[in-house]
Symmetry: C2
Subunit: 311 residues, 2 copies
């Protein structure tokens, strides 16, 4: 079993240096990546372990804030070469990221290996990476009841469609945006598209709609979650991964995937994403407190709930 404690939630994805330009400012070479954003959010709720590669240029101190929240970093591998880099910009429509450059670097030859202490995790999140690698991760999982969720992107849908469909058949939940759902399912209507994916295996389809919130489709239920209303959004980078981190972190915390828990998890995910976009990179996640999270969950609920008709 190796040394160390078993982790409850394992995430496989990227750690990156991001350079981001928005109408509200610019930051160069700040830490980011799907696994980092996911863990920065999930670590508020559960013990999470990261599998991702970094390059020799990555200062391990940058991850101290995760260590302080008991994130297991034993799955992070230092490889020869440079860390993955992404540069992008956003206009006023913060839903739409324009990629300016991508340097894969250490990602190019990355082969994910789950540490022994991750193989018994109850929850696994496969962030957006090559579906062949996502499948290799599932092959390593030793907990046959593990709940597995998957993210992806247009590049894999277009270039590795069959591999992606194969891995979709093996997971419990899919977390994608509207365009990705339409492209995978080849259905324009979200409910029809989600039902098509459900017929392939996954029980839950979570559709991210940026500033319009989240749409969750289960075999017999649809749940509609608006986005938390913000007056200022500084940097949407990582919103999808902090959302997924809140969602999976909560499920891992309560230890159930009942429909009630799934709904609470989606709302909590939106709350976490709403904090993340308030500052560049993971800055806001570093200063965030449990108290602020609970307060925003409550105020969010007040923005959504309504009473019976008085007819």
């Amino acid at each position: 079993m190796g040394t160390g404690n078993l982790v409850s939630l394992a995430v496989i994805g990227t750690i990156a240096f991001d350079s981001i330009k928005t109408p509200f400012g610019e930051e160069r070479n700040i830490i980011g990546g799907s696994a980092l954003h996911f863990a920065s959010s999930a670590s508020f709720f559960t013990d999470v372990g990261i599998v991702a590669p970094i390059g020799e240029d990555f200062d391990a101190k940058e991850l101290d804030f995760l260590k302080e929240r008991n994130v297991d970093l034993s799955g992070i591998k230092v490889l020869d070469g440079k860390t993955f880099r992404w540069a992008g910009k956003y206009g006023y429509d913060l839903n739409l990221a324009i990629t300016l450059s991508t340097e894969l670097n250490v990602l190019e030859d990355f082969e994910p290996h789950l540490p022994e202490t991750y193989k018994y995790a109850n929850f696994i999140f496969l962030a957006n990476i090559d579906p062949d690698l996502q499948a290799k991760v599932i092959d390593q999982v030793k907990n046959r009841d593990a709940y597995v969720a998957l993210d992806t992107m247009n590049f894999w849908i277009e270039n590795k469609r069959e591999a992606l469909l194969d891995v979709i058949r093996r997971v419990d939940m899919i977390v994608v945006n509207e365009a990705e759902l339409r492209e995978i399912s080849m259905e324009y209507n979200l409910i029809k598209g989600a039902k098509k994916l459900i017929s392939m295996g996954p029980k839950t389809i979570v559709i991210k709609r940026g500033e319009y919130g989240v749409f969750m489709v289960n075999p017999d239920e649809v749940f509609l979650c608006p986005a938390y209303p913000l007056e200022e959004v500084f940097d949407p980078t990582g919103a999808g991964d902090t959302f997924a981190g809140g969602l999976m972190g909560y499920l891992s915390n309560v230890g159930t995937v009942s429909y009630d828990a799934l709904k609470q998890a989606v709302i909590l995910g939106c709350v976490m994403a709403s904090f993340n976009v308030e500052d560049f990179g993971p800055k806001r996640m570093k200063s965030l407190t449990h108290r602020e999270i609970k307060e925003r969950y409550s105020s969010f609920r007040k923005c959504i709930e309504f009473g019976d008709l008085k007819l």
Copy 2:
């Protein structure tokens, strides 16, 4: 006071012949227009009177379904010439109507006159017409406590900005879409834009977001309403006006504009719009029953509500 009963809710807008093409079919010269769609919806909840012009080519029998629901048609004026005509089409993004042609016809010289029995209405809806005409309607209202709501469009924002801002100062509620709010307020963020309009006079800003639902901003509260999830949307024409009809019809029914009533009214408006888009023109409004409305309100609530965190 003239003859007839006082109406509780008066709508001033258009009656039209619409020709509509969507990916799901095509209909030519079906009845439509903002006042007709609004009244077809509001009449489920309150007694409503219409002010609108029609041409000599309009067969009064077309309005029998409204008469059967006790809609007061005494404010409809038959003018020399032809009825207003609109032709438009939609692609798969049903949020976006492409206008193919507009024939103003009798609208060109329309001067709205409220029948005496409308002047004491408790609720007034100024559908999207020239803001100068909207102001003339307000001038005729004799109930000083009347609750007045206003819709508008980009054409008036761009060509009659000052007249529009003047009438905005005189109303209680504004019902617009996202782009219109941004254009009026010159703010990209919806909350900031809504607060700017609130500082001018109106207490409530209702922002329609098509398939993403509705956003309501009051001086101290924000309410988020997703759209009712549909697998089939045939024709979005009139969705905004049936929404407003449900909203204002409900407020008129319960006789209060408390925040709780406003939230229920917004949800009910979304329910009415969700029925309207299920068929072309006002067809679905004709066959709709109170029972179906109440059932959809309840099932909508089930898609939205969620519980406390179990942390």
